[in-house]
């Protein structure tokens, strides 16, 4: 399984979070973007919208670039 970062996905794509990096990793984890969680990209752009569980988050690309994911095929 190859990993990529969350900012490379397109709307409607789903993926499983593999790792979160950067200074804001604790906040992202607390907001629901934890390793092993499935995420769906709702809107791309700057900022973008992703959904994890029932949590919908608006995230800057600087954040999504720090989130490593395994895309679902």
């Amino acid at each position: 399984m190859s990993t990529t970062t969350l900012d490379t996905l397109t709307p409607g794509d789903t993926a499983t979070i593999a790792a979160t990096a950067g200074d804001d990793a604790p906040l992202l984890r607390a907001m629901g973007l934890r390793e092993g969680m499935d995420v769906t990209v709702k809107r791309t752009g700057e900022p973008c919208i992703v959904e994890a569980g029932n949590t919908r988050l608006g995230l800057a690309r600087a954040m999504t670039g720090d989130i490593e994911v395994i895309p679902h095929t």
Binding site: L27, E46, L57, G58, A62
Partner: protein, 641 residues
Amino acid sequence: MNQGEPSNHAGQDLDGPVRTVALVGQPNVGKTTLFNRLCGLRSHTANIPGSTVEAQVGRWGTSRVIDLPGTYAITLKQPEATVVRECLSGQRSDAFTPTVVLLVLDATSLQRGLHLAIETLAFGLPCVVALNRVDTARKRGFEIDERRLASWLGCEVVSISARSGHGVNHLQPAIAGARVCDAPLPNTDDPGVCDDWVDGVIRESTPRPPVLAADHLSDRLDIAFTHPFLGVLVFGLVMAGLFWTIFAFAAVPMDLIDTIFGHVGGWLASILPAGDLRDLIVDGIVGGLAGTVVFLPQILLLFFLIALLEDTGYLARAAFVMDRVLRHFGLPGQAFVPMLSAHACAIPAIMSTRLVPDRRDRLAVILTAPFLSCSARLPVYVLLIGVMFADQPVIAGVVFAGSYALGIIAALGSAFLARRTILPGTARPMVIELPDYQWPSITAALLTCWDRGWLFLRKAGTVILGMVVVLWWLSAYPKAPEAAPTAPTAIAATVAPESVAPSPMEYSFAGRIGKAVQPVFDPLGWDWQLTVGVMTSFAAREVFVSTMAVLVGGGDQEDHAVLDRIAHAKRDNGQPMLTTETSASLLIFFVLAMQCLPTLAVTAREAGGWKWAAIQFGWMTALAWGGAWIAFRVVIAAGGT
């Protein structure tokens, strides 16, 4: 405009509560809705000692309830998390040390909430878990077995709907019998173990598969509301509607307040014997309070509408959309809420910058928010634009809108500069939760309104009243020898250019200071009277109109006759006091200048030092002087009056 500060004596009016209950939860879980349902009007905003974070404190039966700030995790480095951590560990004052924790979890985002539960329970305080929004979760096919959840968490779990009130009556007995968690909890330092534990809890206490159906309404609305172009358009329409509502609906109560104060002043003037005491009460206290309290309807409406918008979930989308725009000026999307509030009053706006997570971002918002035209500038705009364009309502409207636009441009431009000089860097990358859309709660919005209105009135009754009395004293003393027998209201000397003896106002401290300072403002075309008016308005802008009324004589009620007198007042040399060019320079000055002592005090407190207030004051005043000079010169070049 002046909005109150939260009190620092939380709960002194609440005698002998049996226990202190702290509400802990993540943002958007319905914590505040629950607080409002429990305490209703028996609550007030309080500053948590030793921090810039505020919390609602209220009374619920025999309990004192503290609505601690929402935080995603207690271990984060954000100020909200720090405050929650310190309150739970008893490091704040006794008044903010809970004896019982009421942990609010959202049934629709249980996984996230359980991580906060581990951190909270680890403090070893008696705890009850309120599982909110169970009705919504159930509708979307997600059932939670509260008994199993309770056995995992080692404390009582009560399923509730804070919005409908369902199950809330079970909280009181649960709190009375709250116990310290008696179940084995994972070590908070080991994220892997915590993740496994949370997965286990969800697996055991929910039906399989634990899947929540999607919220289609939010999906559909977000297509429009978060769209790069459509979203900005919607935002523009919402804001236009908001301001239209505020100005349209506030006009009637504002007139009413004005009339009531006018009658009270008139009545007091008729029953009190002429003299200093009457002048102090009628001109100083009643007149000064009228000029402040008259903005109460606008403040109430603004907070009511913002609370409604926030409750629907739209405000988070607006911040999301505005992030794209504000980022170019070095401001984060979250800055738009304070910037919106600043159009009513800079003080609550600066206080609401606590929403902005990054310190430098927050400082940039605090420093620039007072550029936005607050409602205290309104009467001044009305006066000056009325003088300039008396018979041209269309041009007057355009100039009016232009004044607001100039404030916005100055704020954004200053933020842009600040991010390249004193606050280097770019705005913190956006991370914002977009909660599900829902119908707003009118009750909750009314409670917010009541709370904010009360803070504002308290401010008006203390700080502003004090300033008004000082200003009155400065303009009434020392008495001019052989002047008219009574105080400034009786002066008409300004229309008599030949008069040799100085008028009482000229002779007073305010007049002397005005004359001494006037050369500074001479390039802007102001005489000593306008200088006094502008200087007194440094305490609070709205004072300008009443000061000018006092200067030109004839009572300080802001009725049309007084505005007319100001418009046609003369200088010492017989020339008109207000010409098109002096009105233009004054208008620009009032748009840009920092003329509000309470705002400076709040800036110093929120930014963490008087240095920031000094920077704000210096920059805004310099820009205002420069802008006013340009306006003066441009109007003269264009023909003037």
